[in-house]
């Protein structure tokens, strides 16, 4: 089953105001998709919220999963996620992604992975400074899912990749109805 997740994750420069600017830019391009989605995730965490999150996740240190996330958050300045899941194909166009991709073609960004097959497209971008990754972006487009993720700050992709195998959180999920947009 084809799914389209639009994750817009845009890593920007080191300025604290950038997450708001990114939010402004991205919402203009993708807001209309939320009304068409059966599920959507709209997450924007600036440096203040990330600090609060890290403080919460520090906890008593017993939860190793949360500890791994906290370690990743330490050097981050912003996280933005836009993720949409649709019931049917054709709810978005590739052109909708062009404003995002145009920003990722500016100097400083490098596309390190590009994969296209069977109606799916995945692109990964990084911004580096003195050999270290300081920005990271993913665009993952499938027929019924569209996901864009942007991370600003220093991040180790190996550590990030390990989170993918952690599975479903242990907190129970009550029935929330059709849409669960956050914020």
């Amino acid at each position: 089953m084809r799914r389209i997740l639009l994750i817009v994750l845009i890593a920007s420069g080191a300025i604290a105001q950038l997450p708001a600017q990114l939010l402004q830019l991205r919402i203009n391009g993708l807001d209309g998709l939320a009304s068409k989605a059966t599920e959507s995730a709209d997450i924007t965490l600036d440096s203040n919220l990330l600090q609060m999150a890290a403080g919460f996740l520090a906890g008593d240190g017993k939860d190793k999963d949360q500890a791994k996330v906290k370690d990743l958050l330490v050097n981050l300045k912003a996280i933005t996620v836009r993720s949409y899941k649709f019931k049917e194909d054709g709810q978005y166009r590739m052109e909708d992604l062009e404003p995002i991709r145009a920003q990722l073609r500016t100097p400083g960004w490098s596309k390190i992975i590009s994969s296209q097959s069977k109606g799916e497209m995945s692109e990964i971008y990084t911004r580096t400074d003195q050999g270290k990754i300081v920005g990271f972006a993913i665009i993952a487009a499938e027929p019924k899912e569209l996901t864009v993720v942007a991370i600003e700050g220093s991040i180790d992709l190996k550590d990030l990749s390990k989170l993918g195998g952690l599975g479903i959180p242990s907190i129970p999920i009550p029935d929330q109805g059709k849409k669960g947009k956050q914020e």
Binding site: L157, S161, I171
Partner: protein
């Protein structure tokens, strides 16, 4: 004109654009990451996140409690966001690995 010499001159090696090595290393980091293949249904995403947001709102009392809840929500959102990122990172990486093999 000696065609052999002209061909050698025309086809001599040239370097790729600046930063090529860095881009290869960055792609290598992605490919080298140790993780299990991504499961498409691994992250409950929205329902879970919304449930957490709702749970955080219930019983809100006082600024300190509000701030605590805000931190908790931010924490859960951060976990969700990074797991989404990890899932998509691993999926893209796996596609590249399959393509090269």
């Amino acid at each position: 004109m000696n065609l052999d010499d002209e061909l050698r001159a025309a086809l001599q090696r040239e370097d790729p654009s600046p930063g090529f090595t860095q881009r290869v290393l960055a792609a290598r980091m992605v490919a080298h990451a140790q993780s299990k293949p991504a499961r498409k249904a691994a992250v409950p995403r929205l329902f879970w996140a919304t449930a957490m947001a709702a749970m955080l709102v219930i019983g809100l009392a006082g600024l300190s409690e509000y701030r605590q809840k805000k931190a908790e929500r931010a924490g859960h959102e951060a976990v969700l966001a990074l797991r989404i990122a990890a899932e998509k990172l691993n999926m893209a990486r796996d596609k590249v690995v399959r393509r090269e093999n």
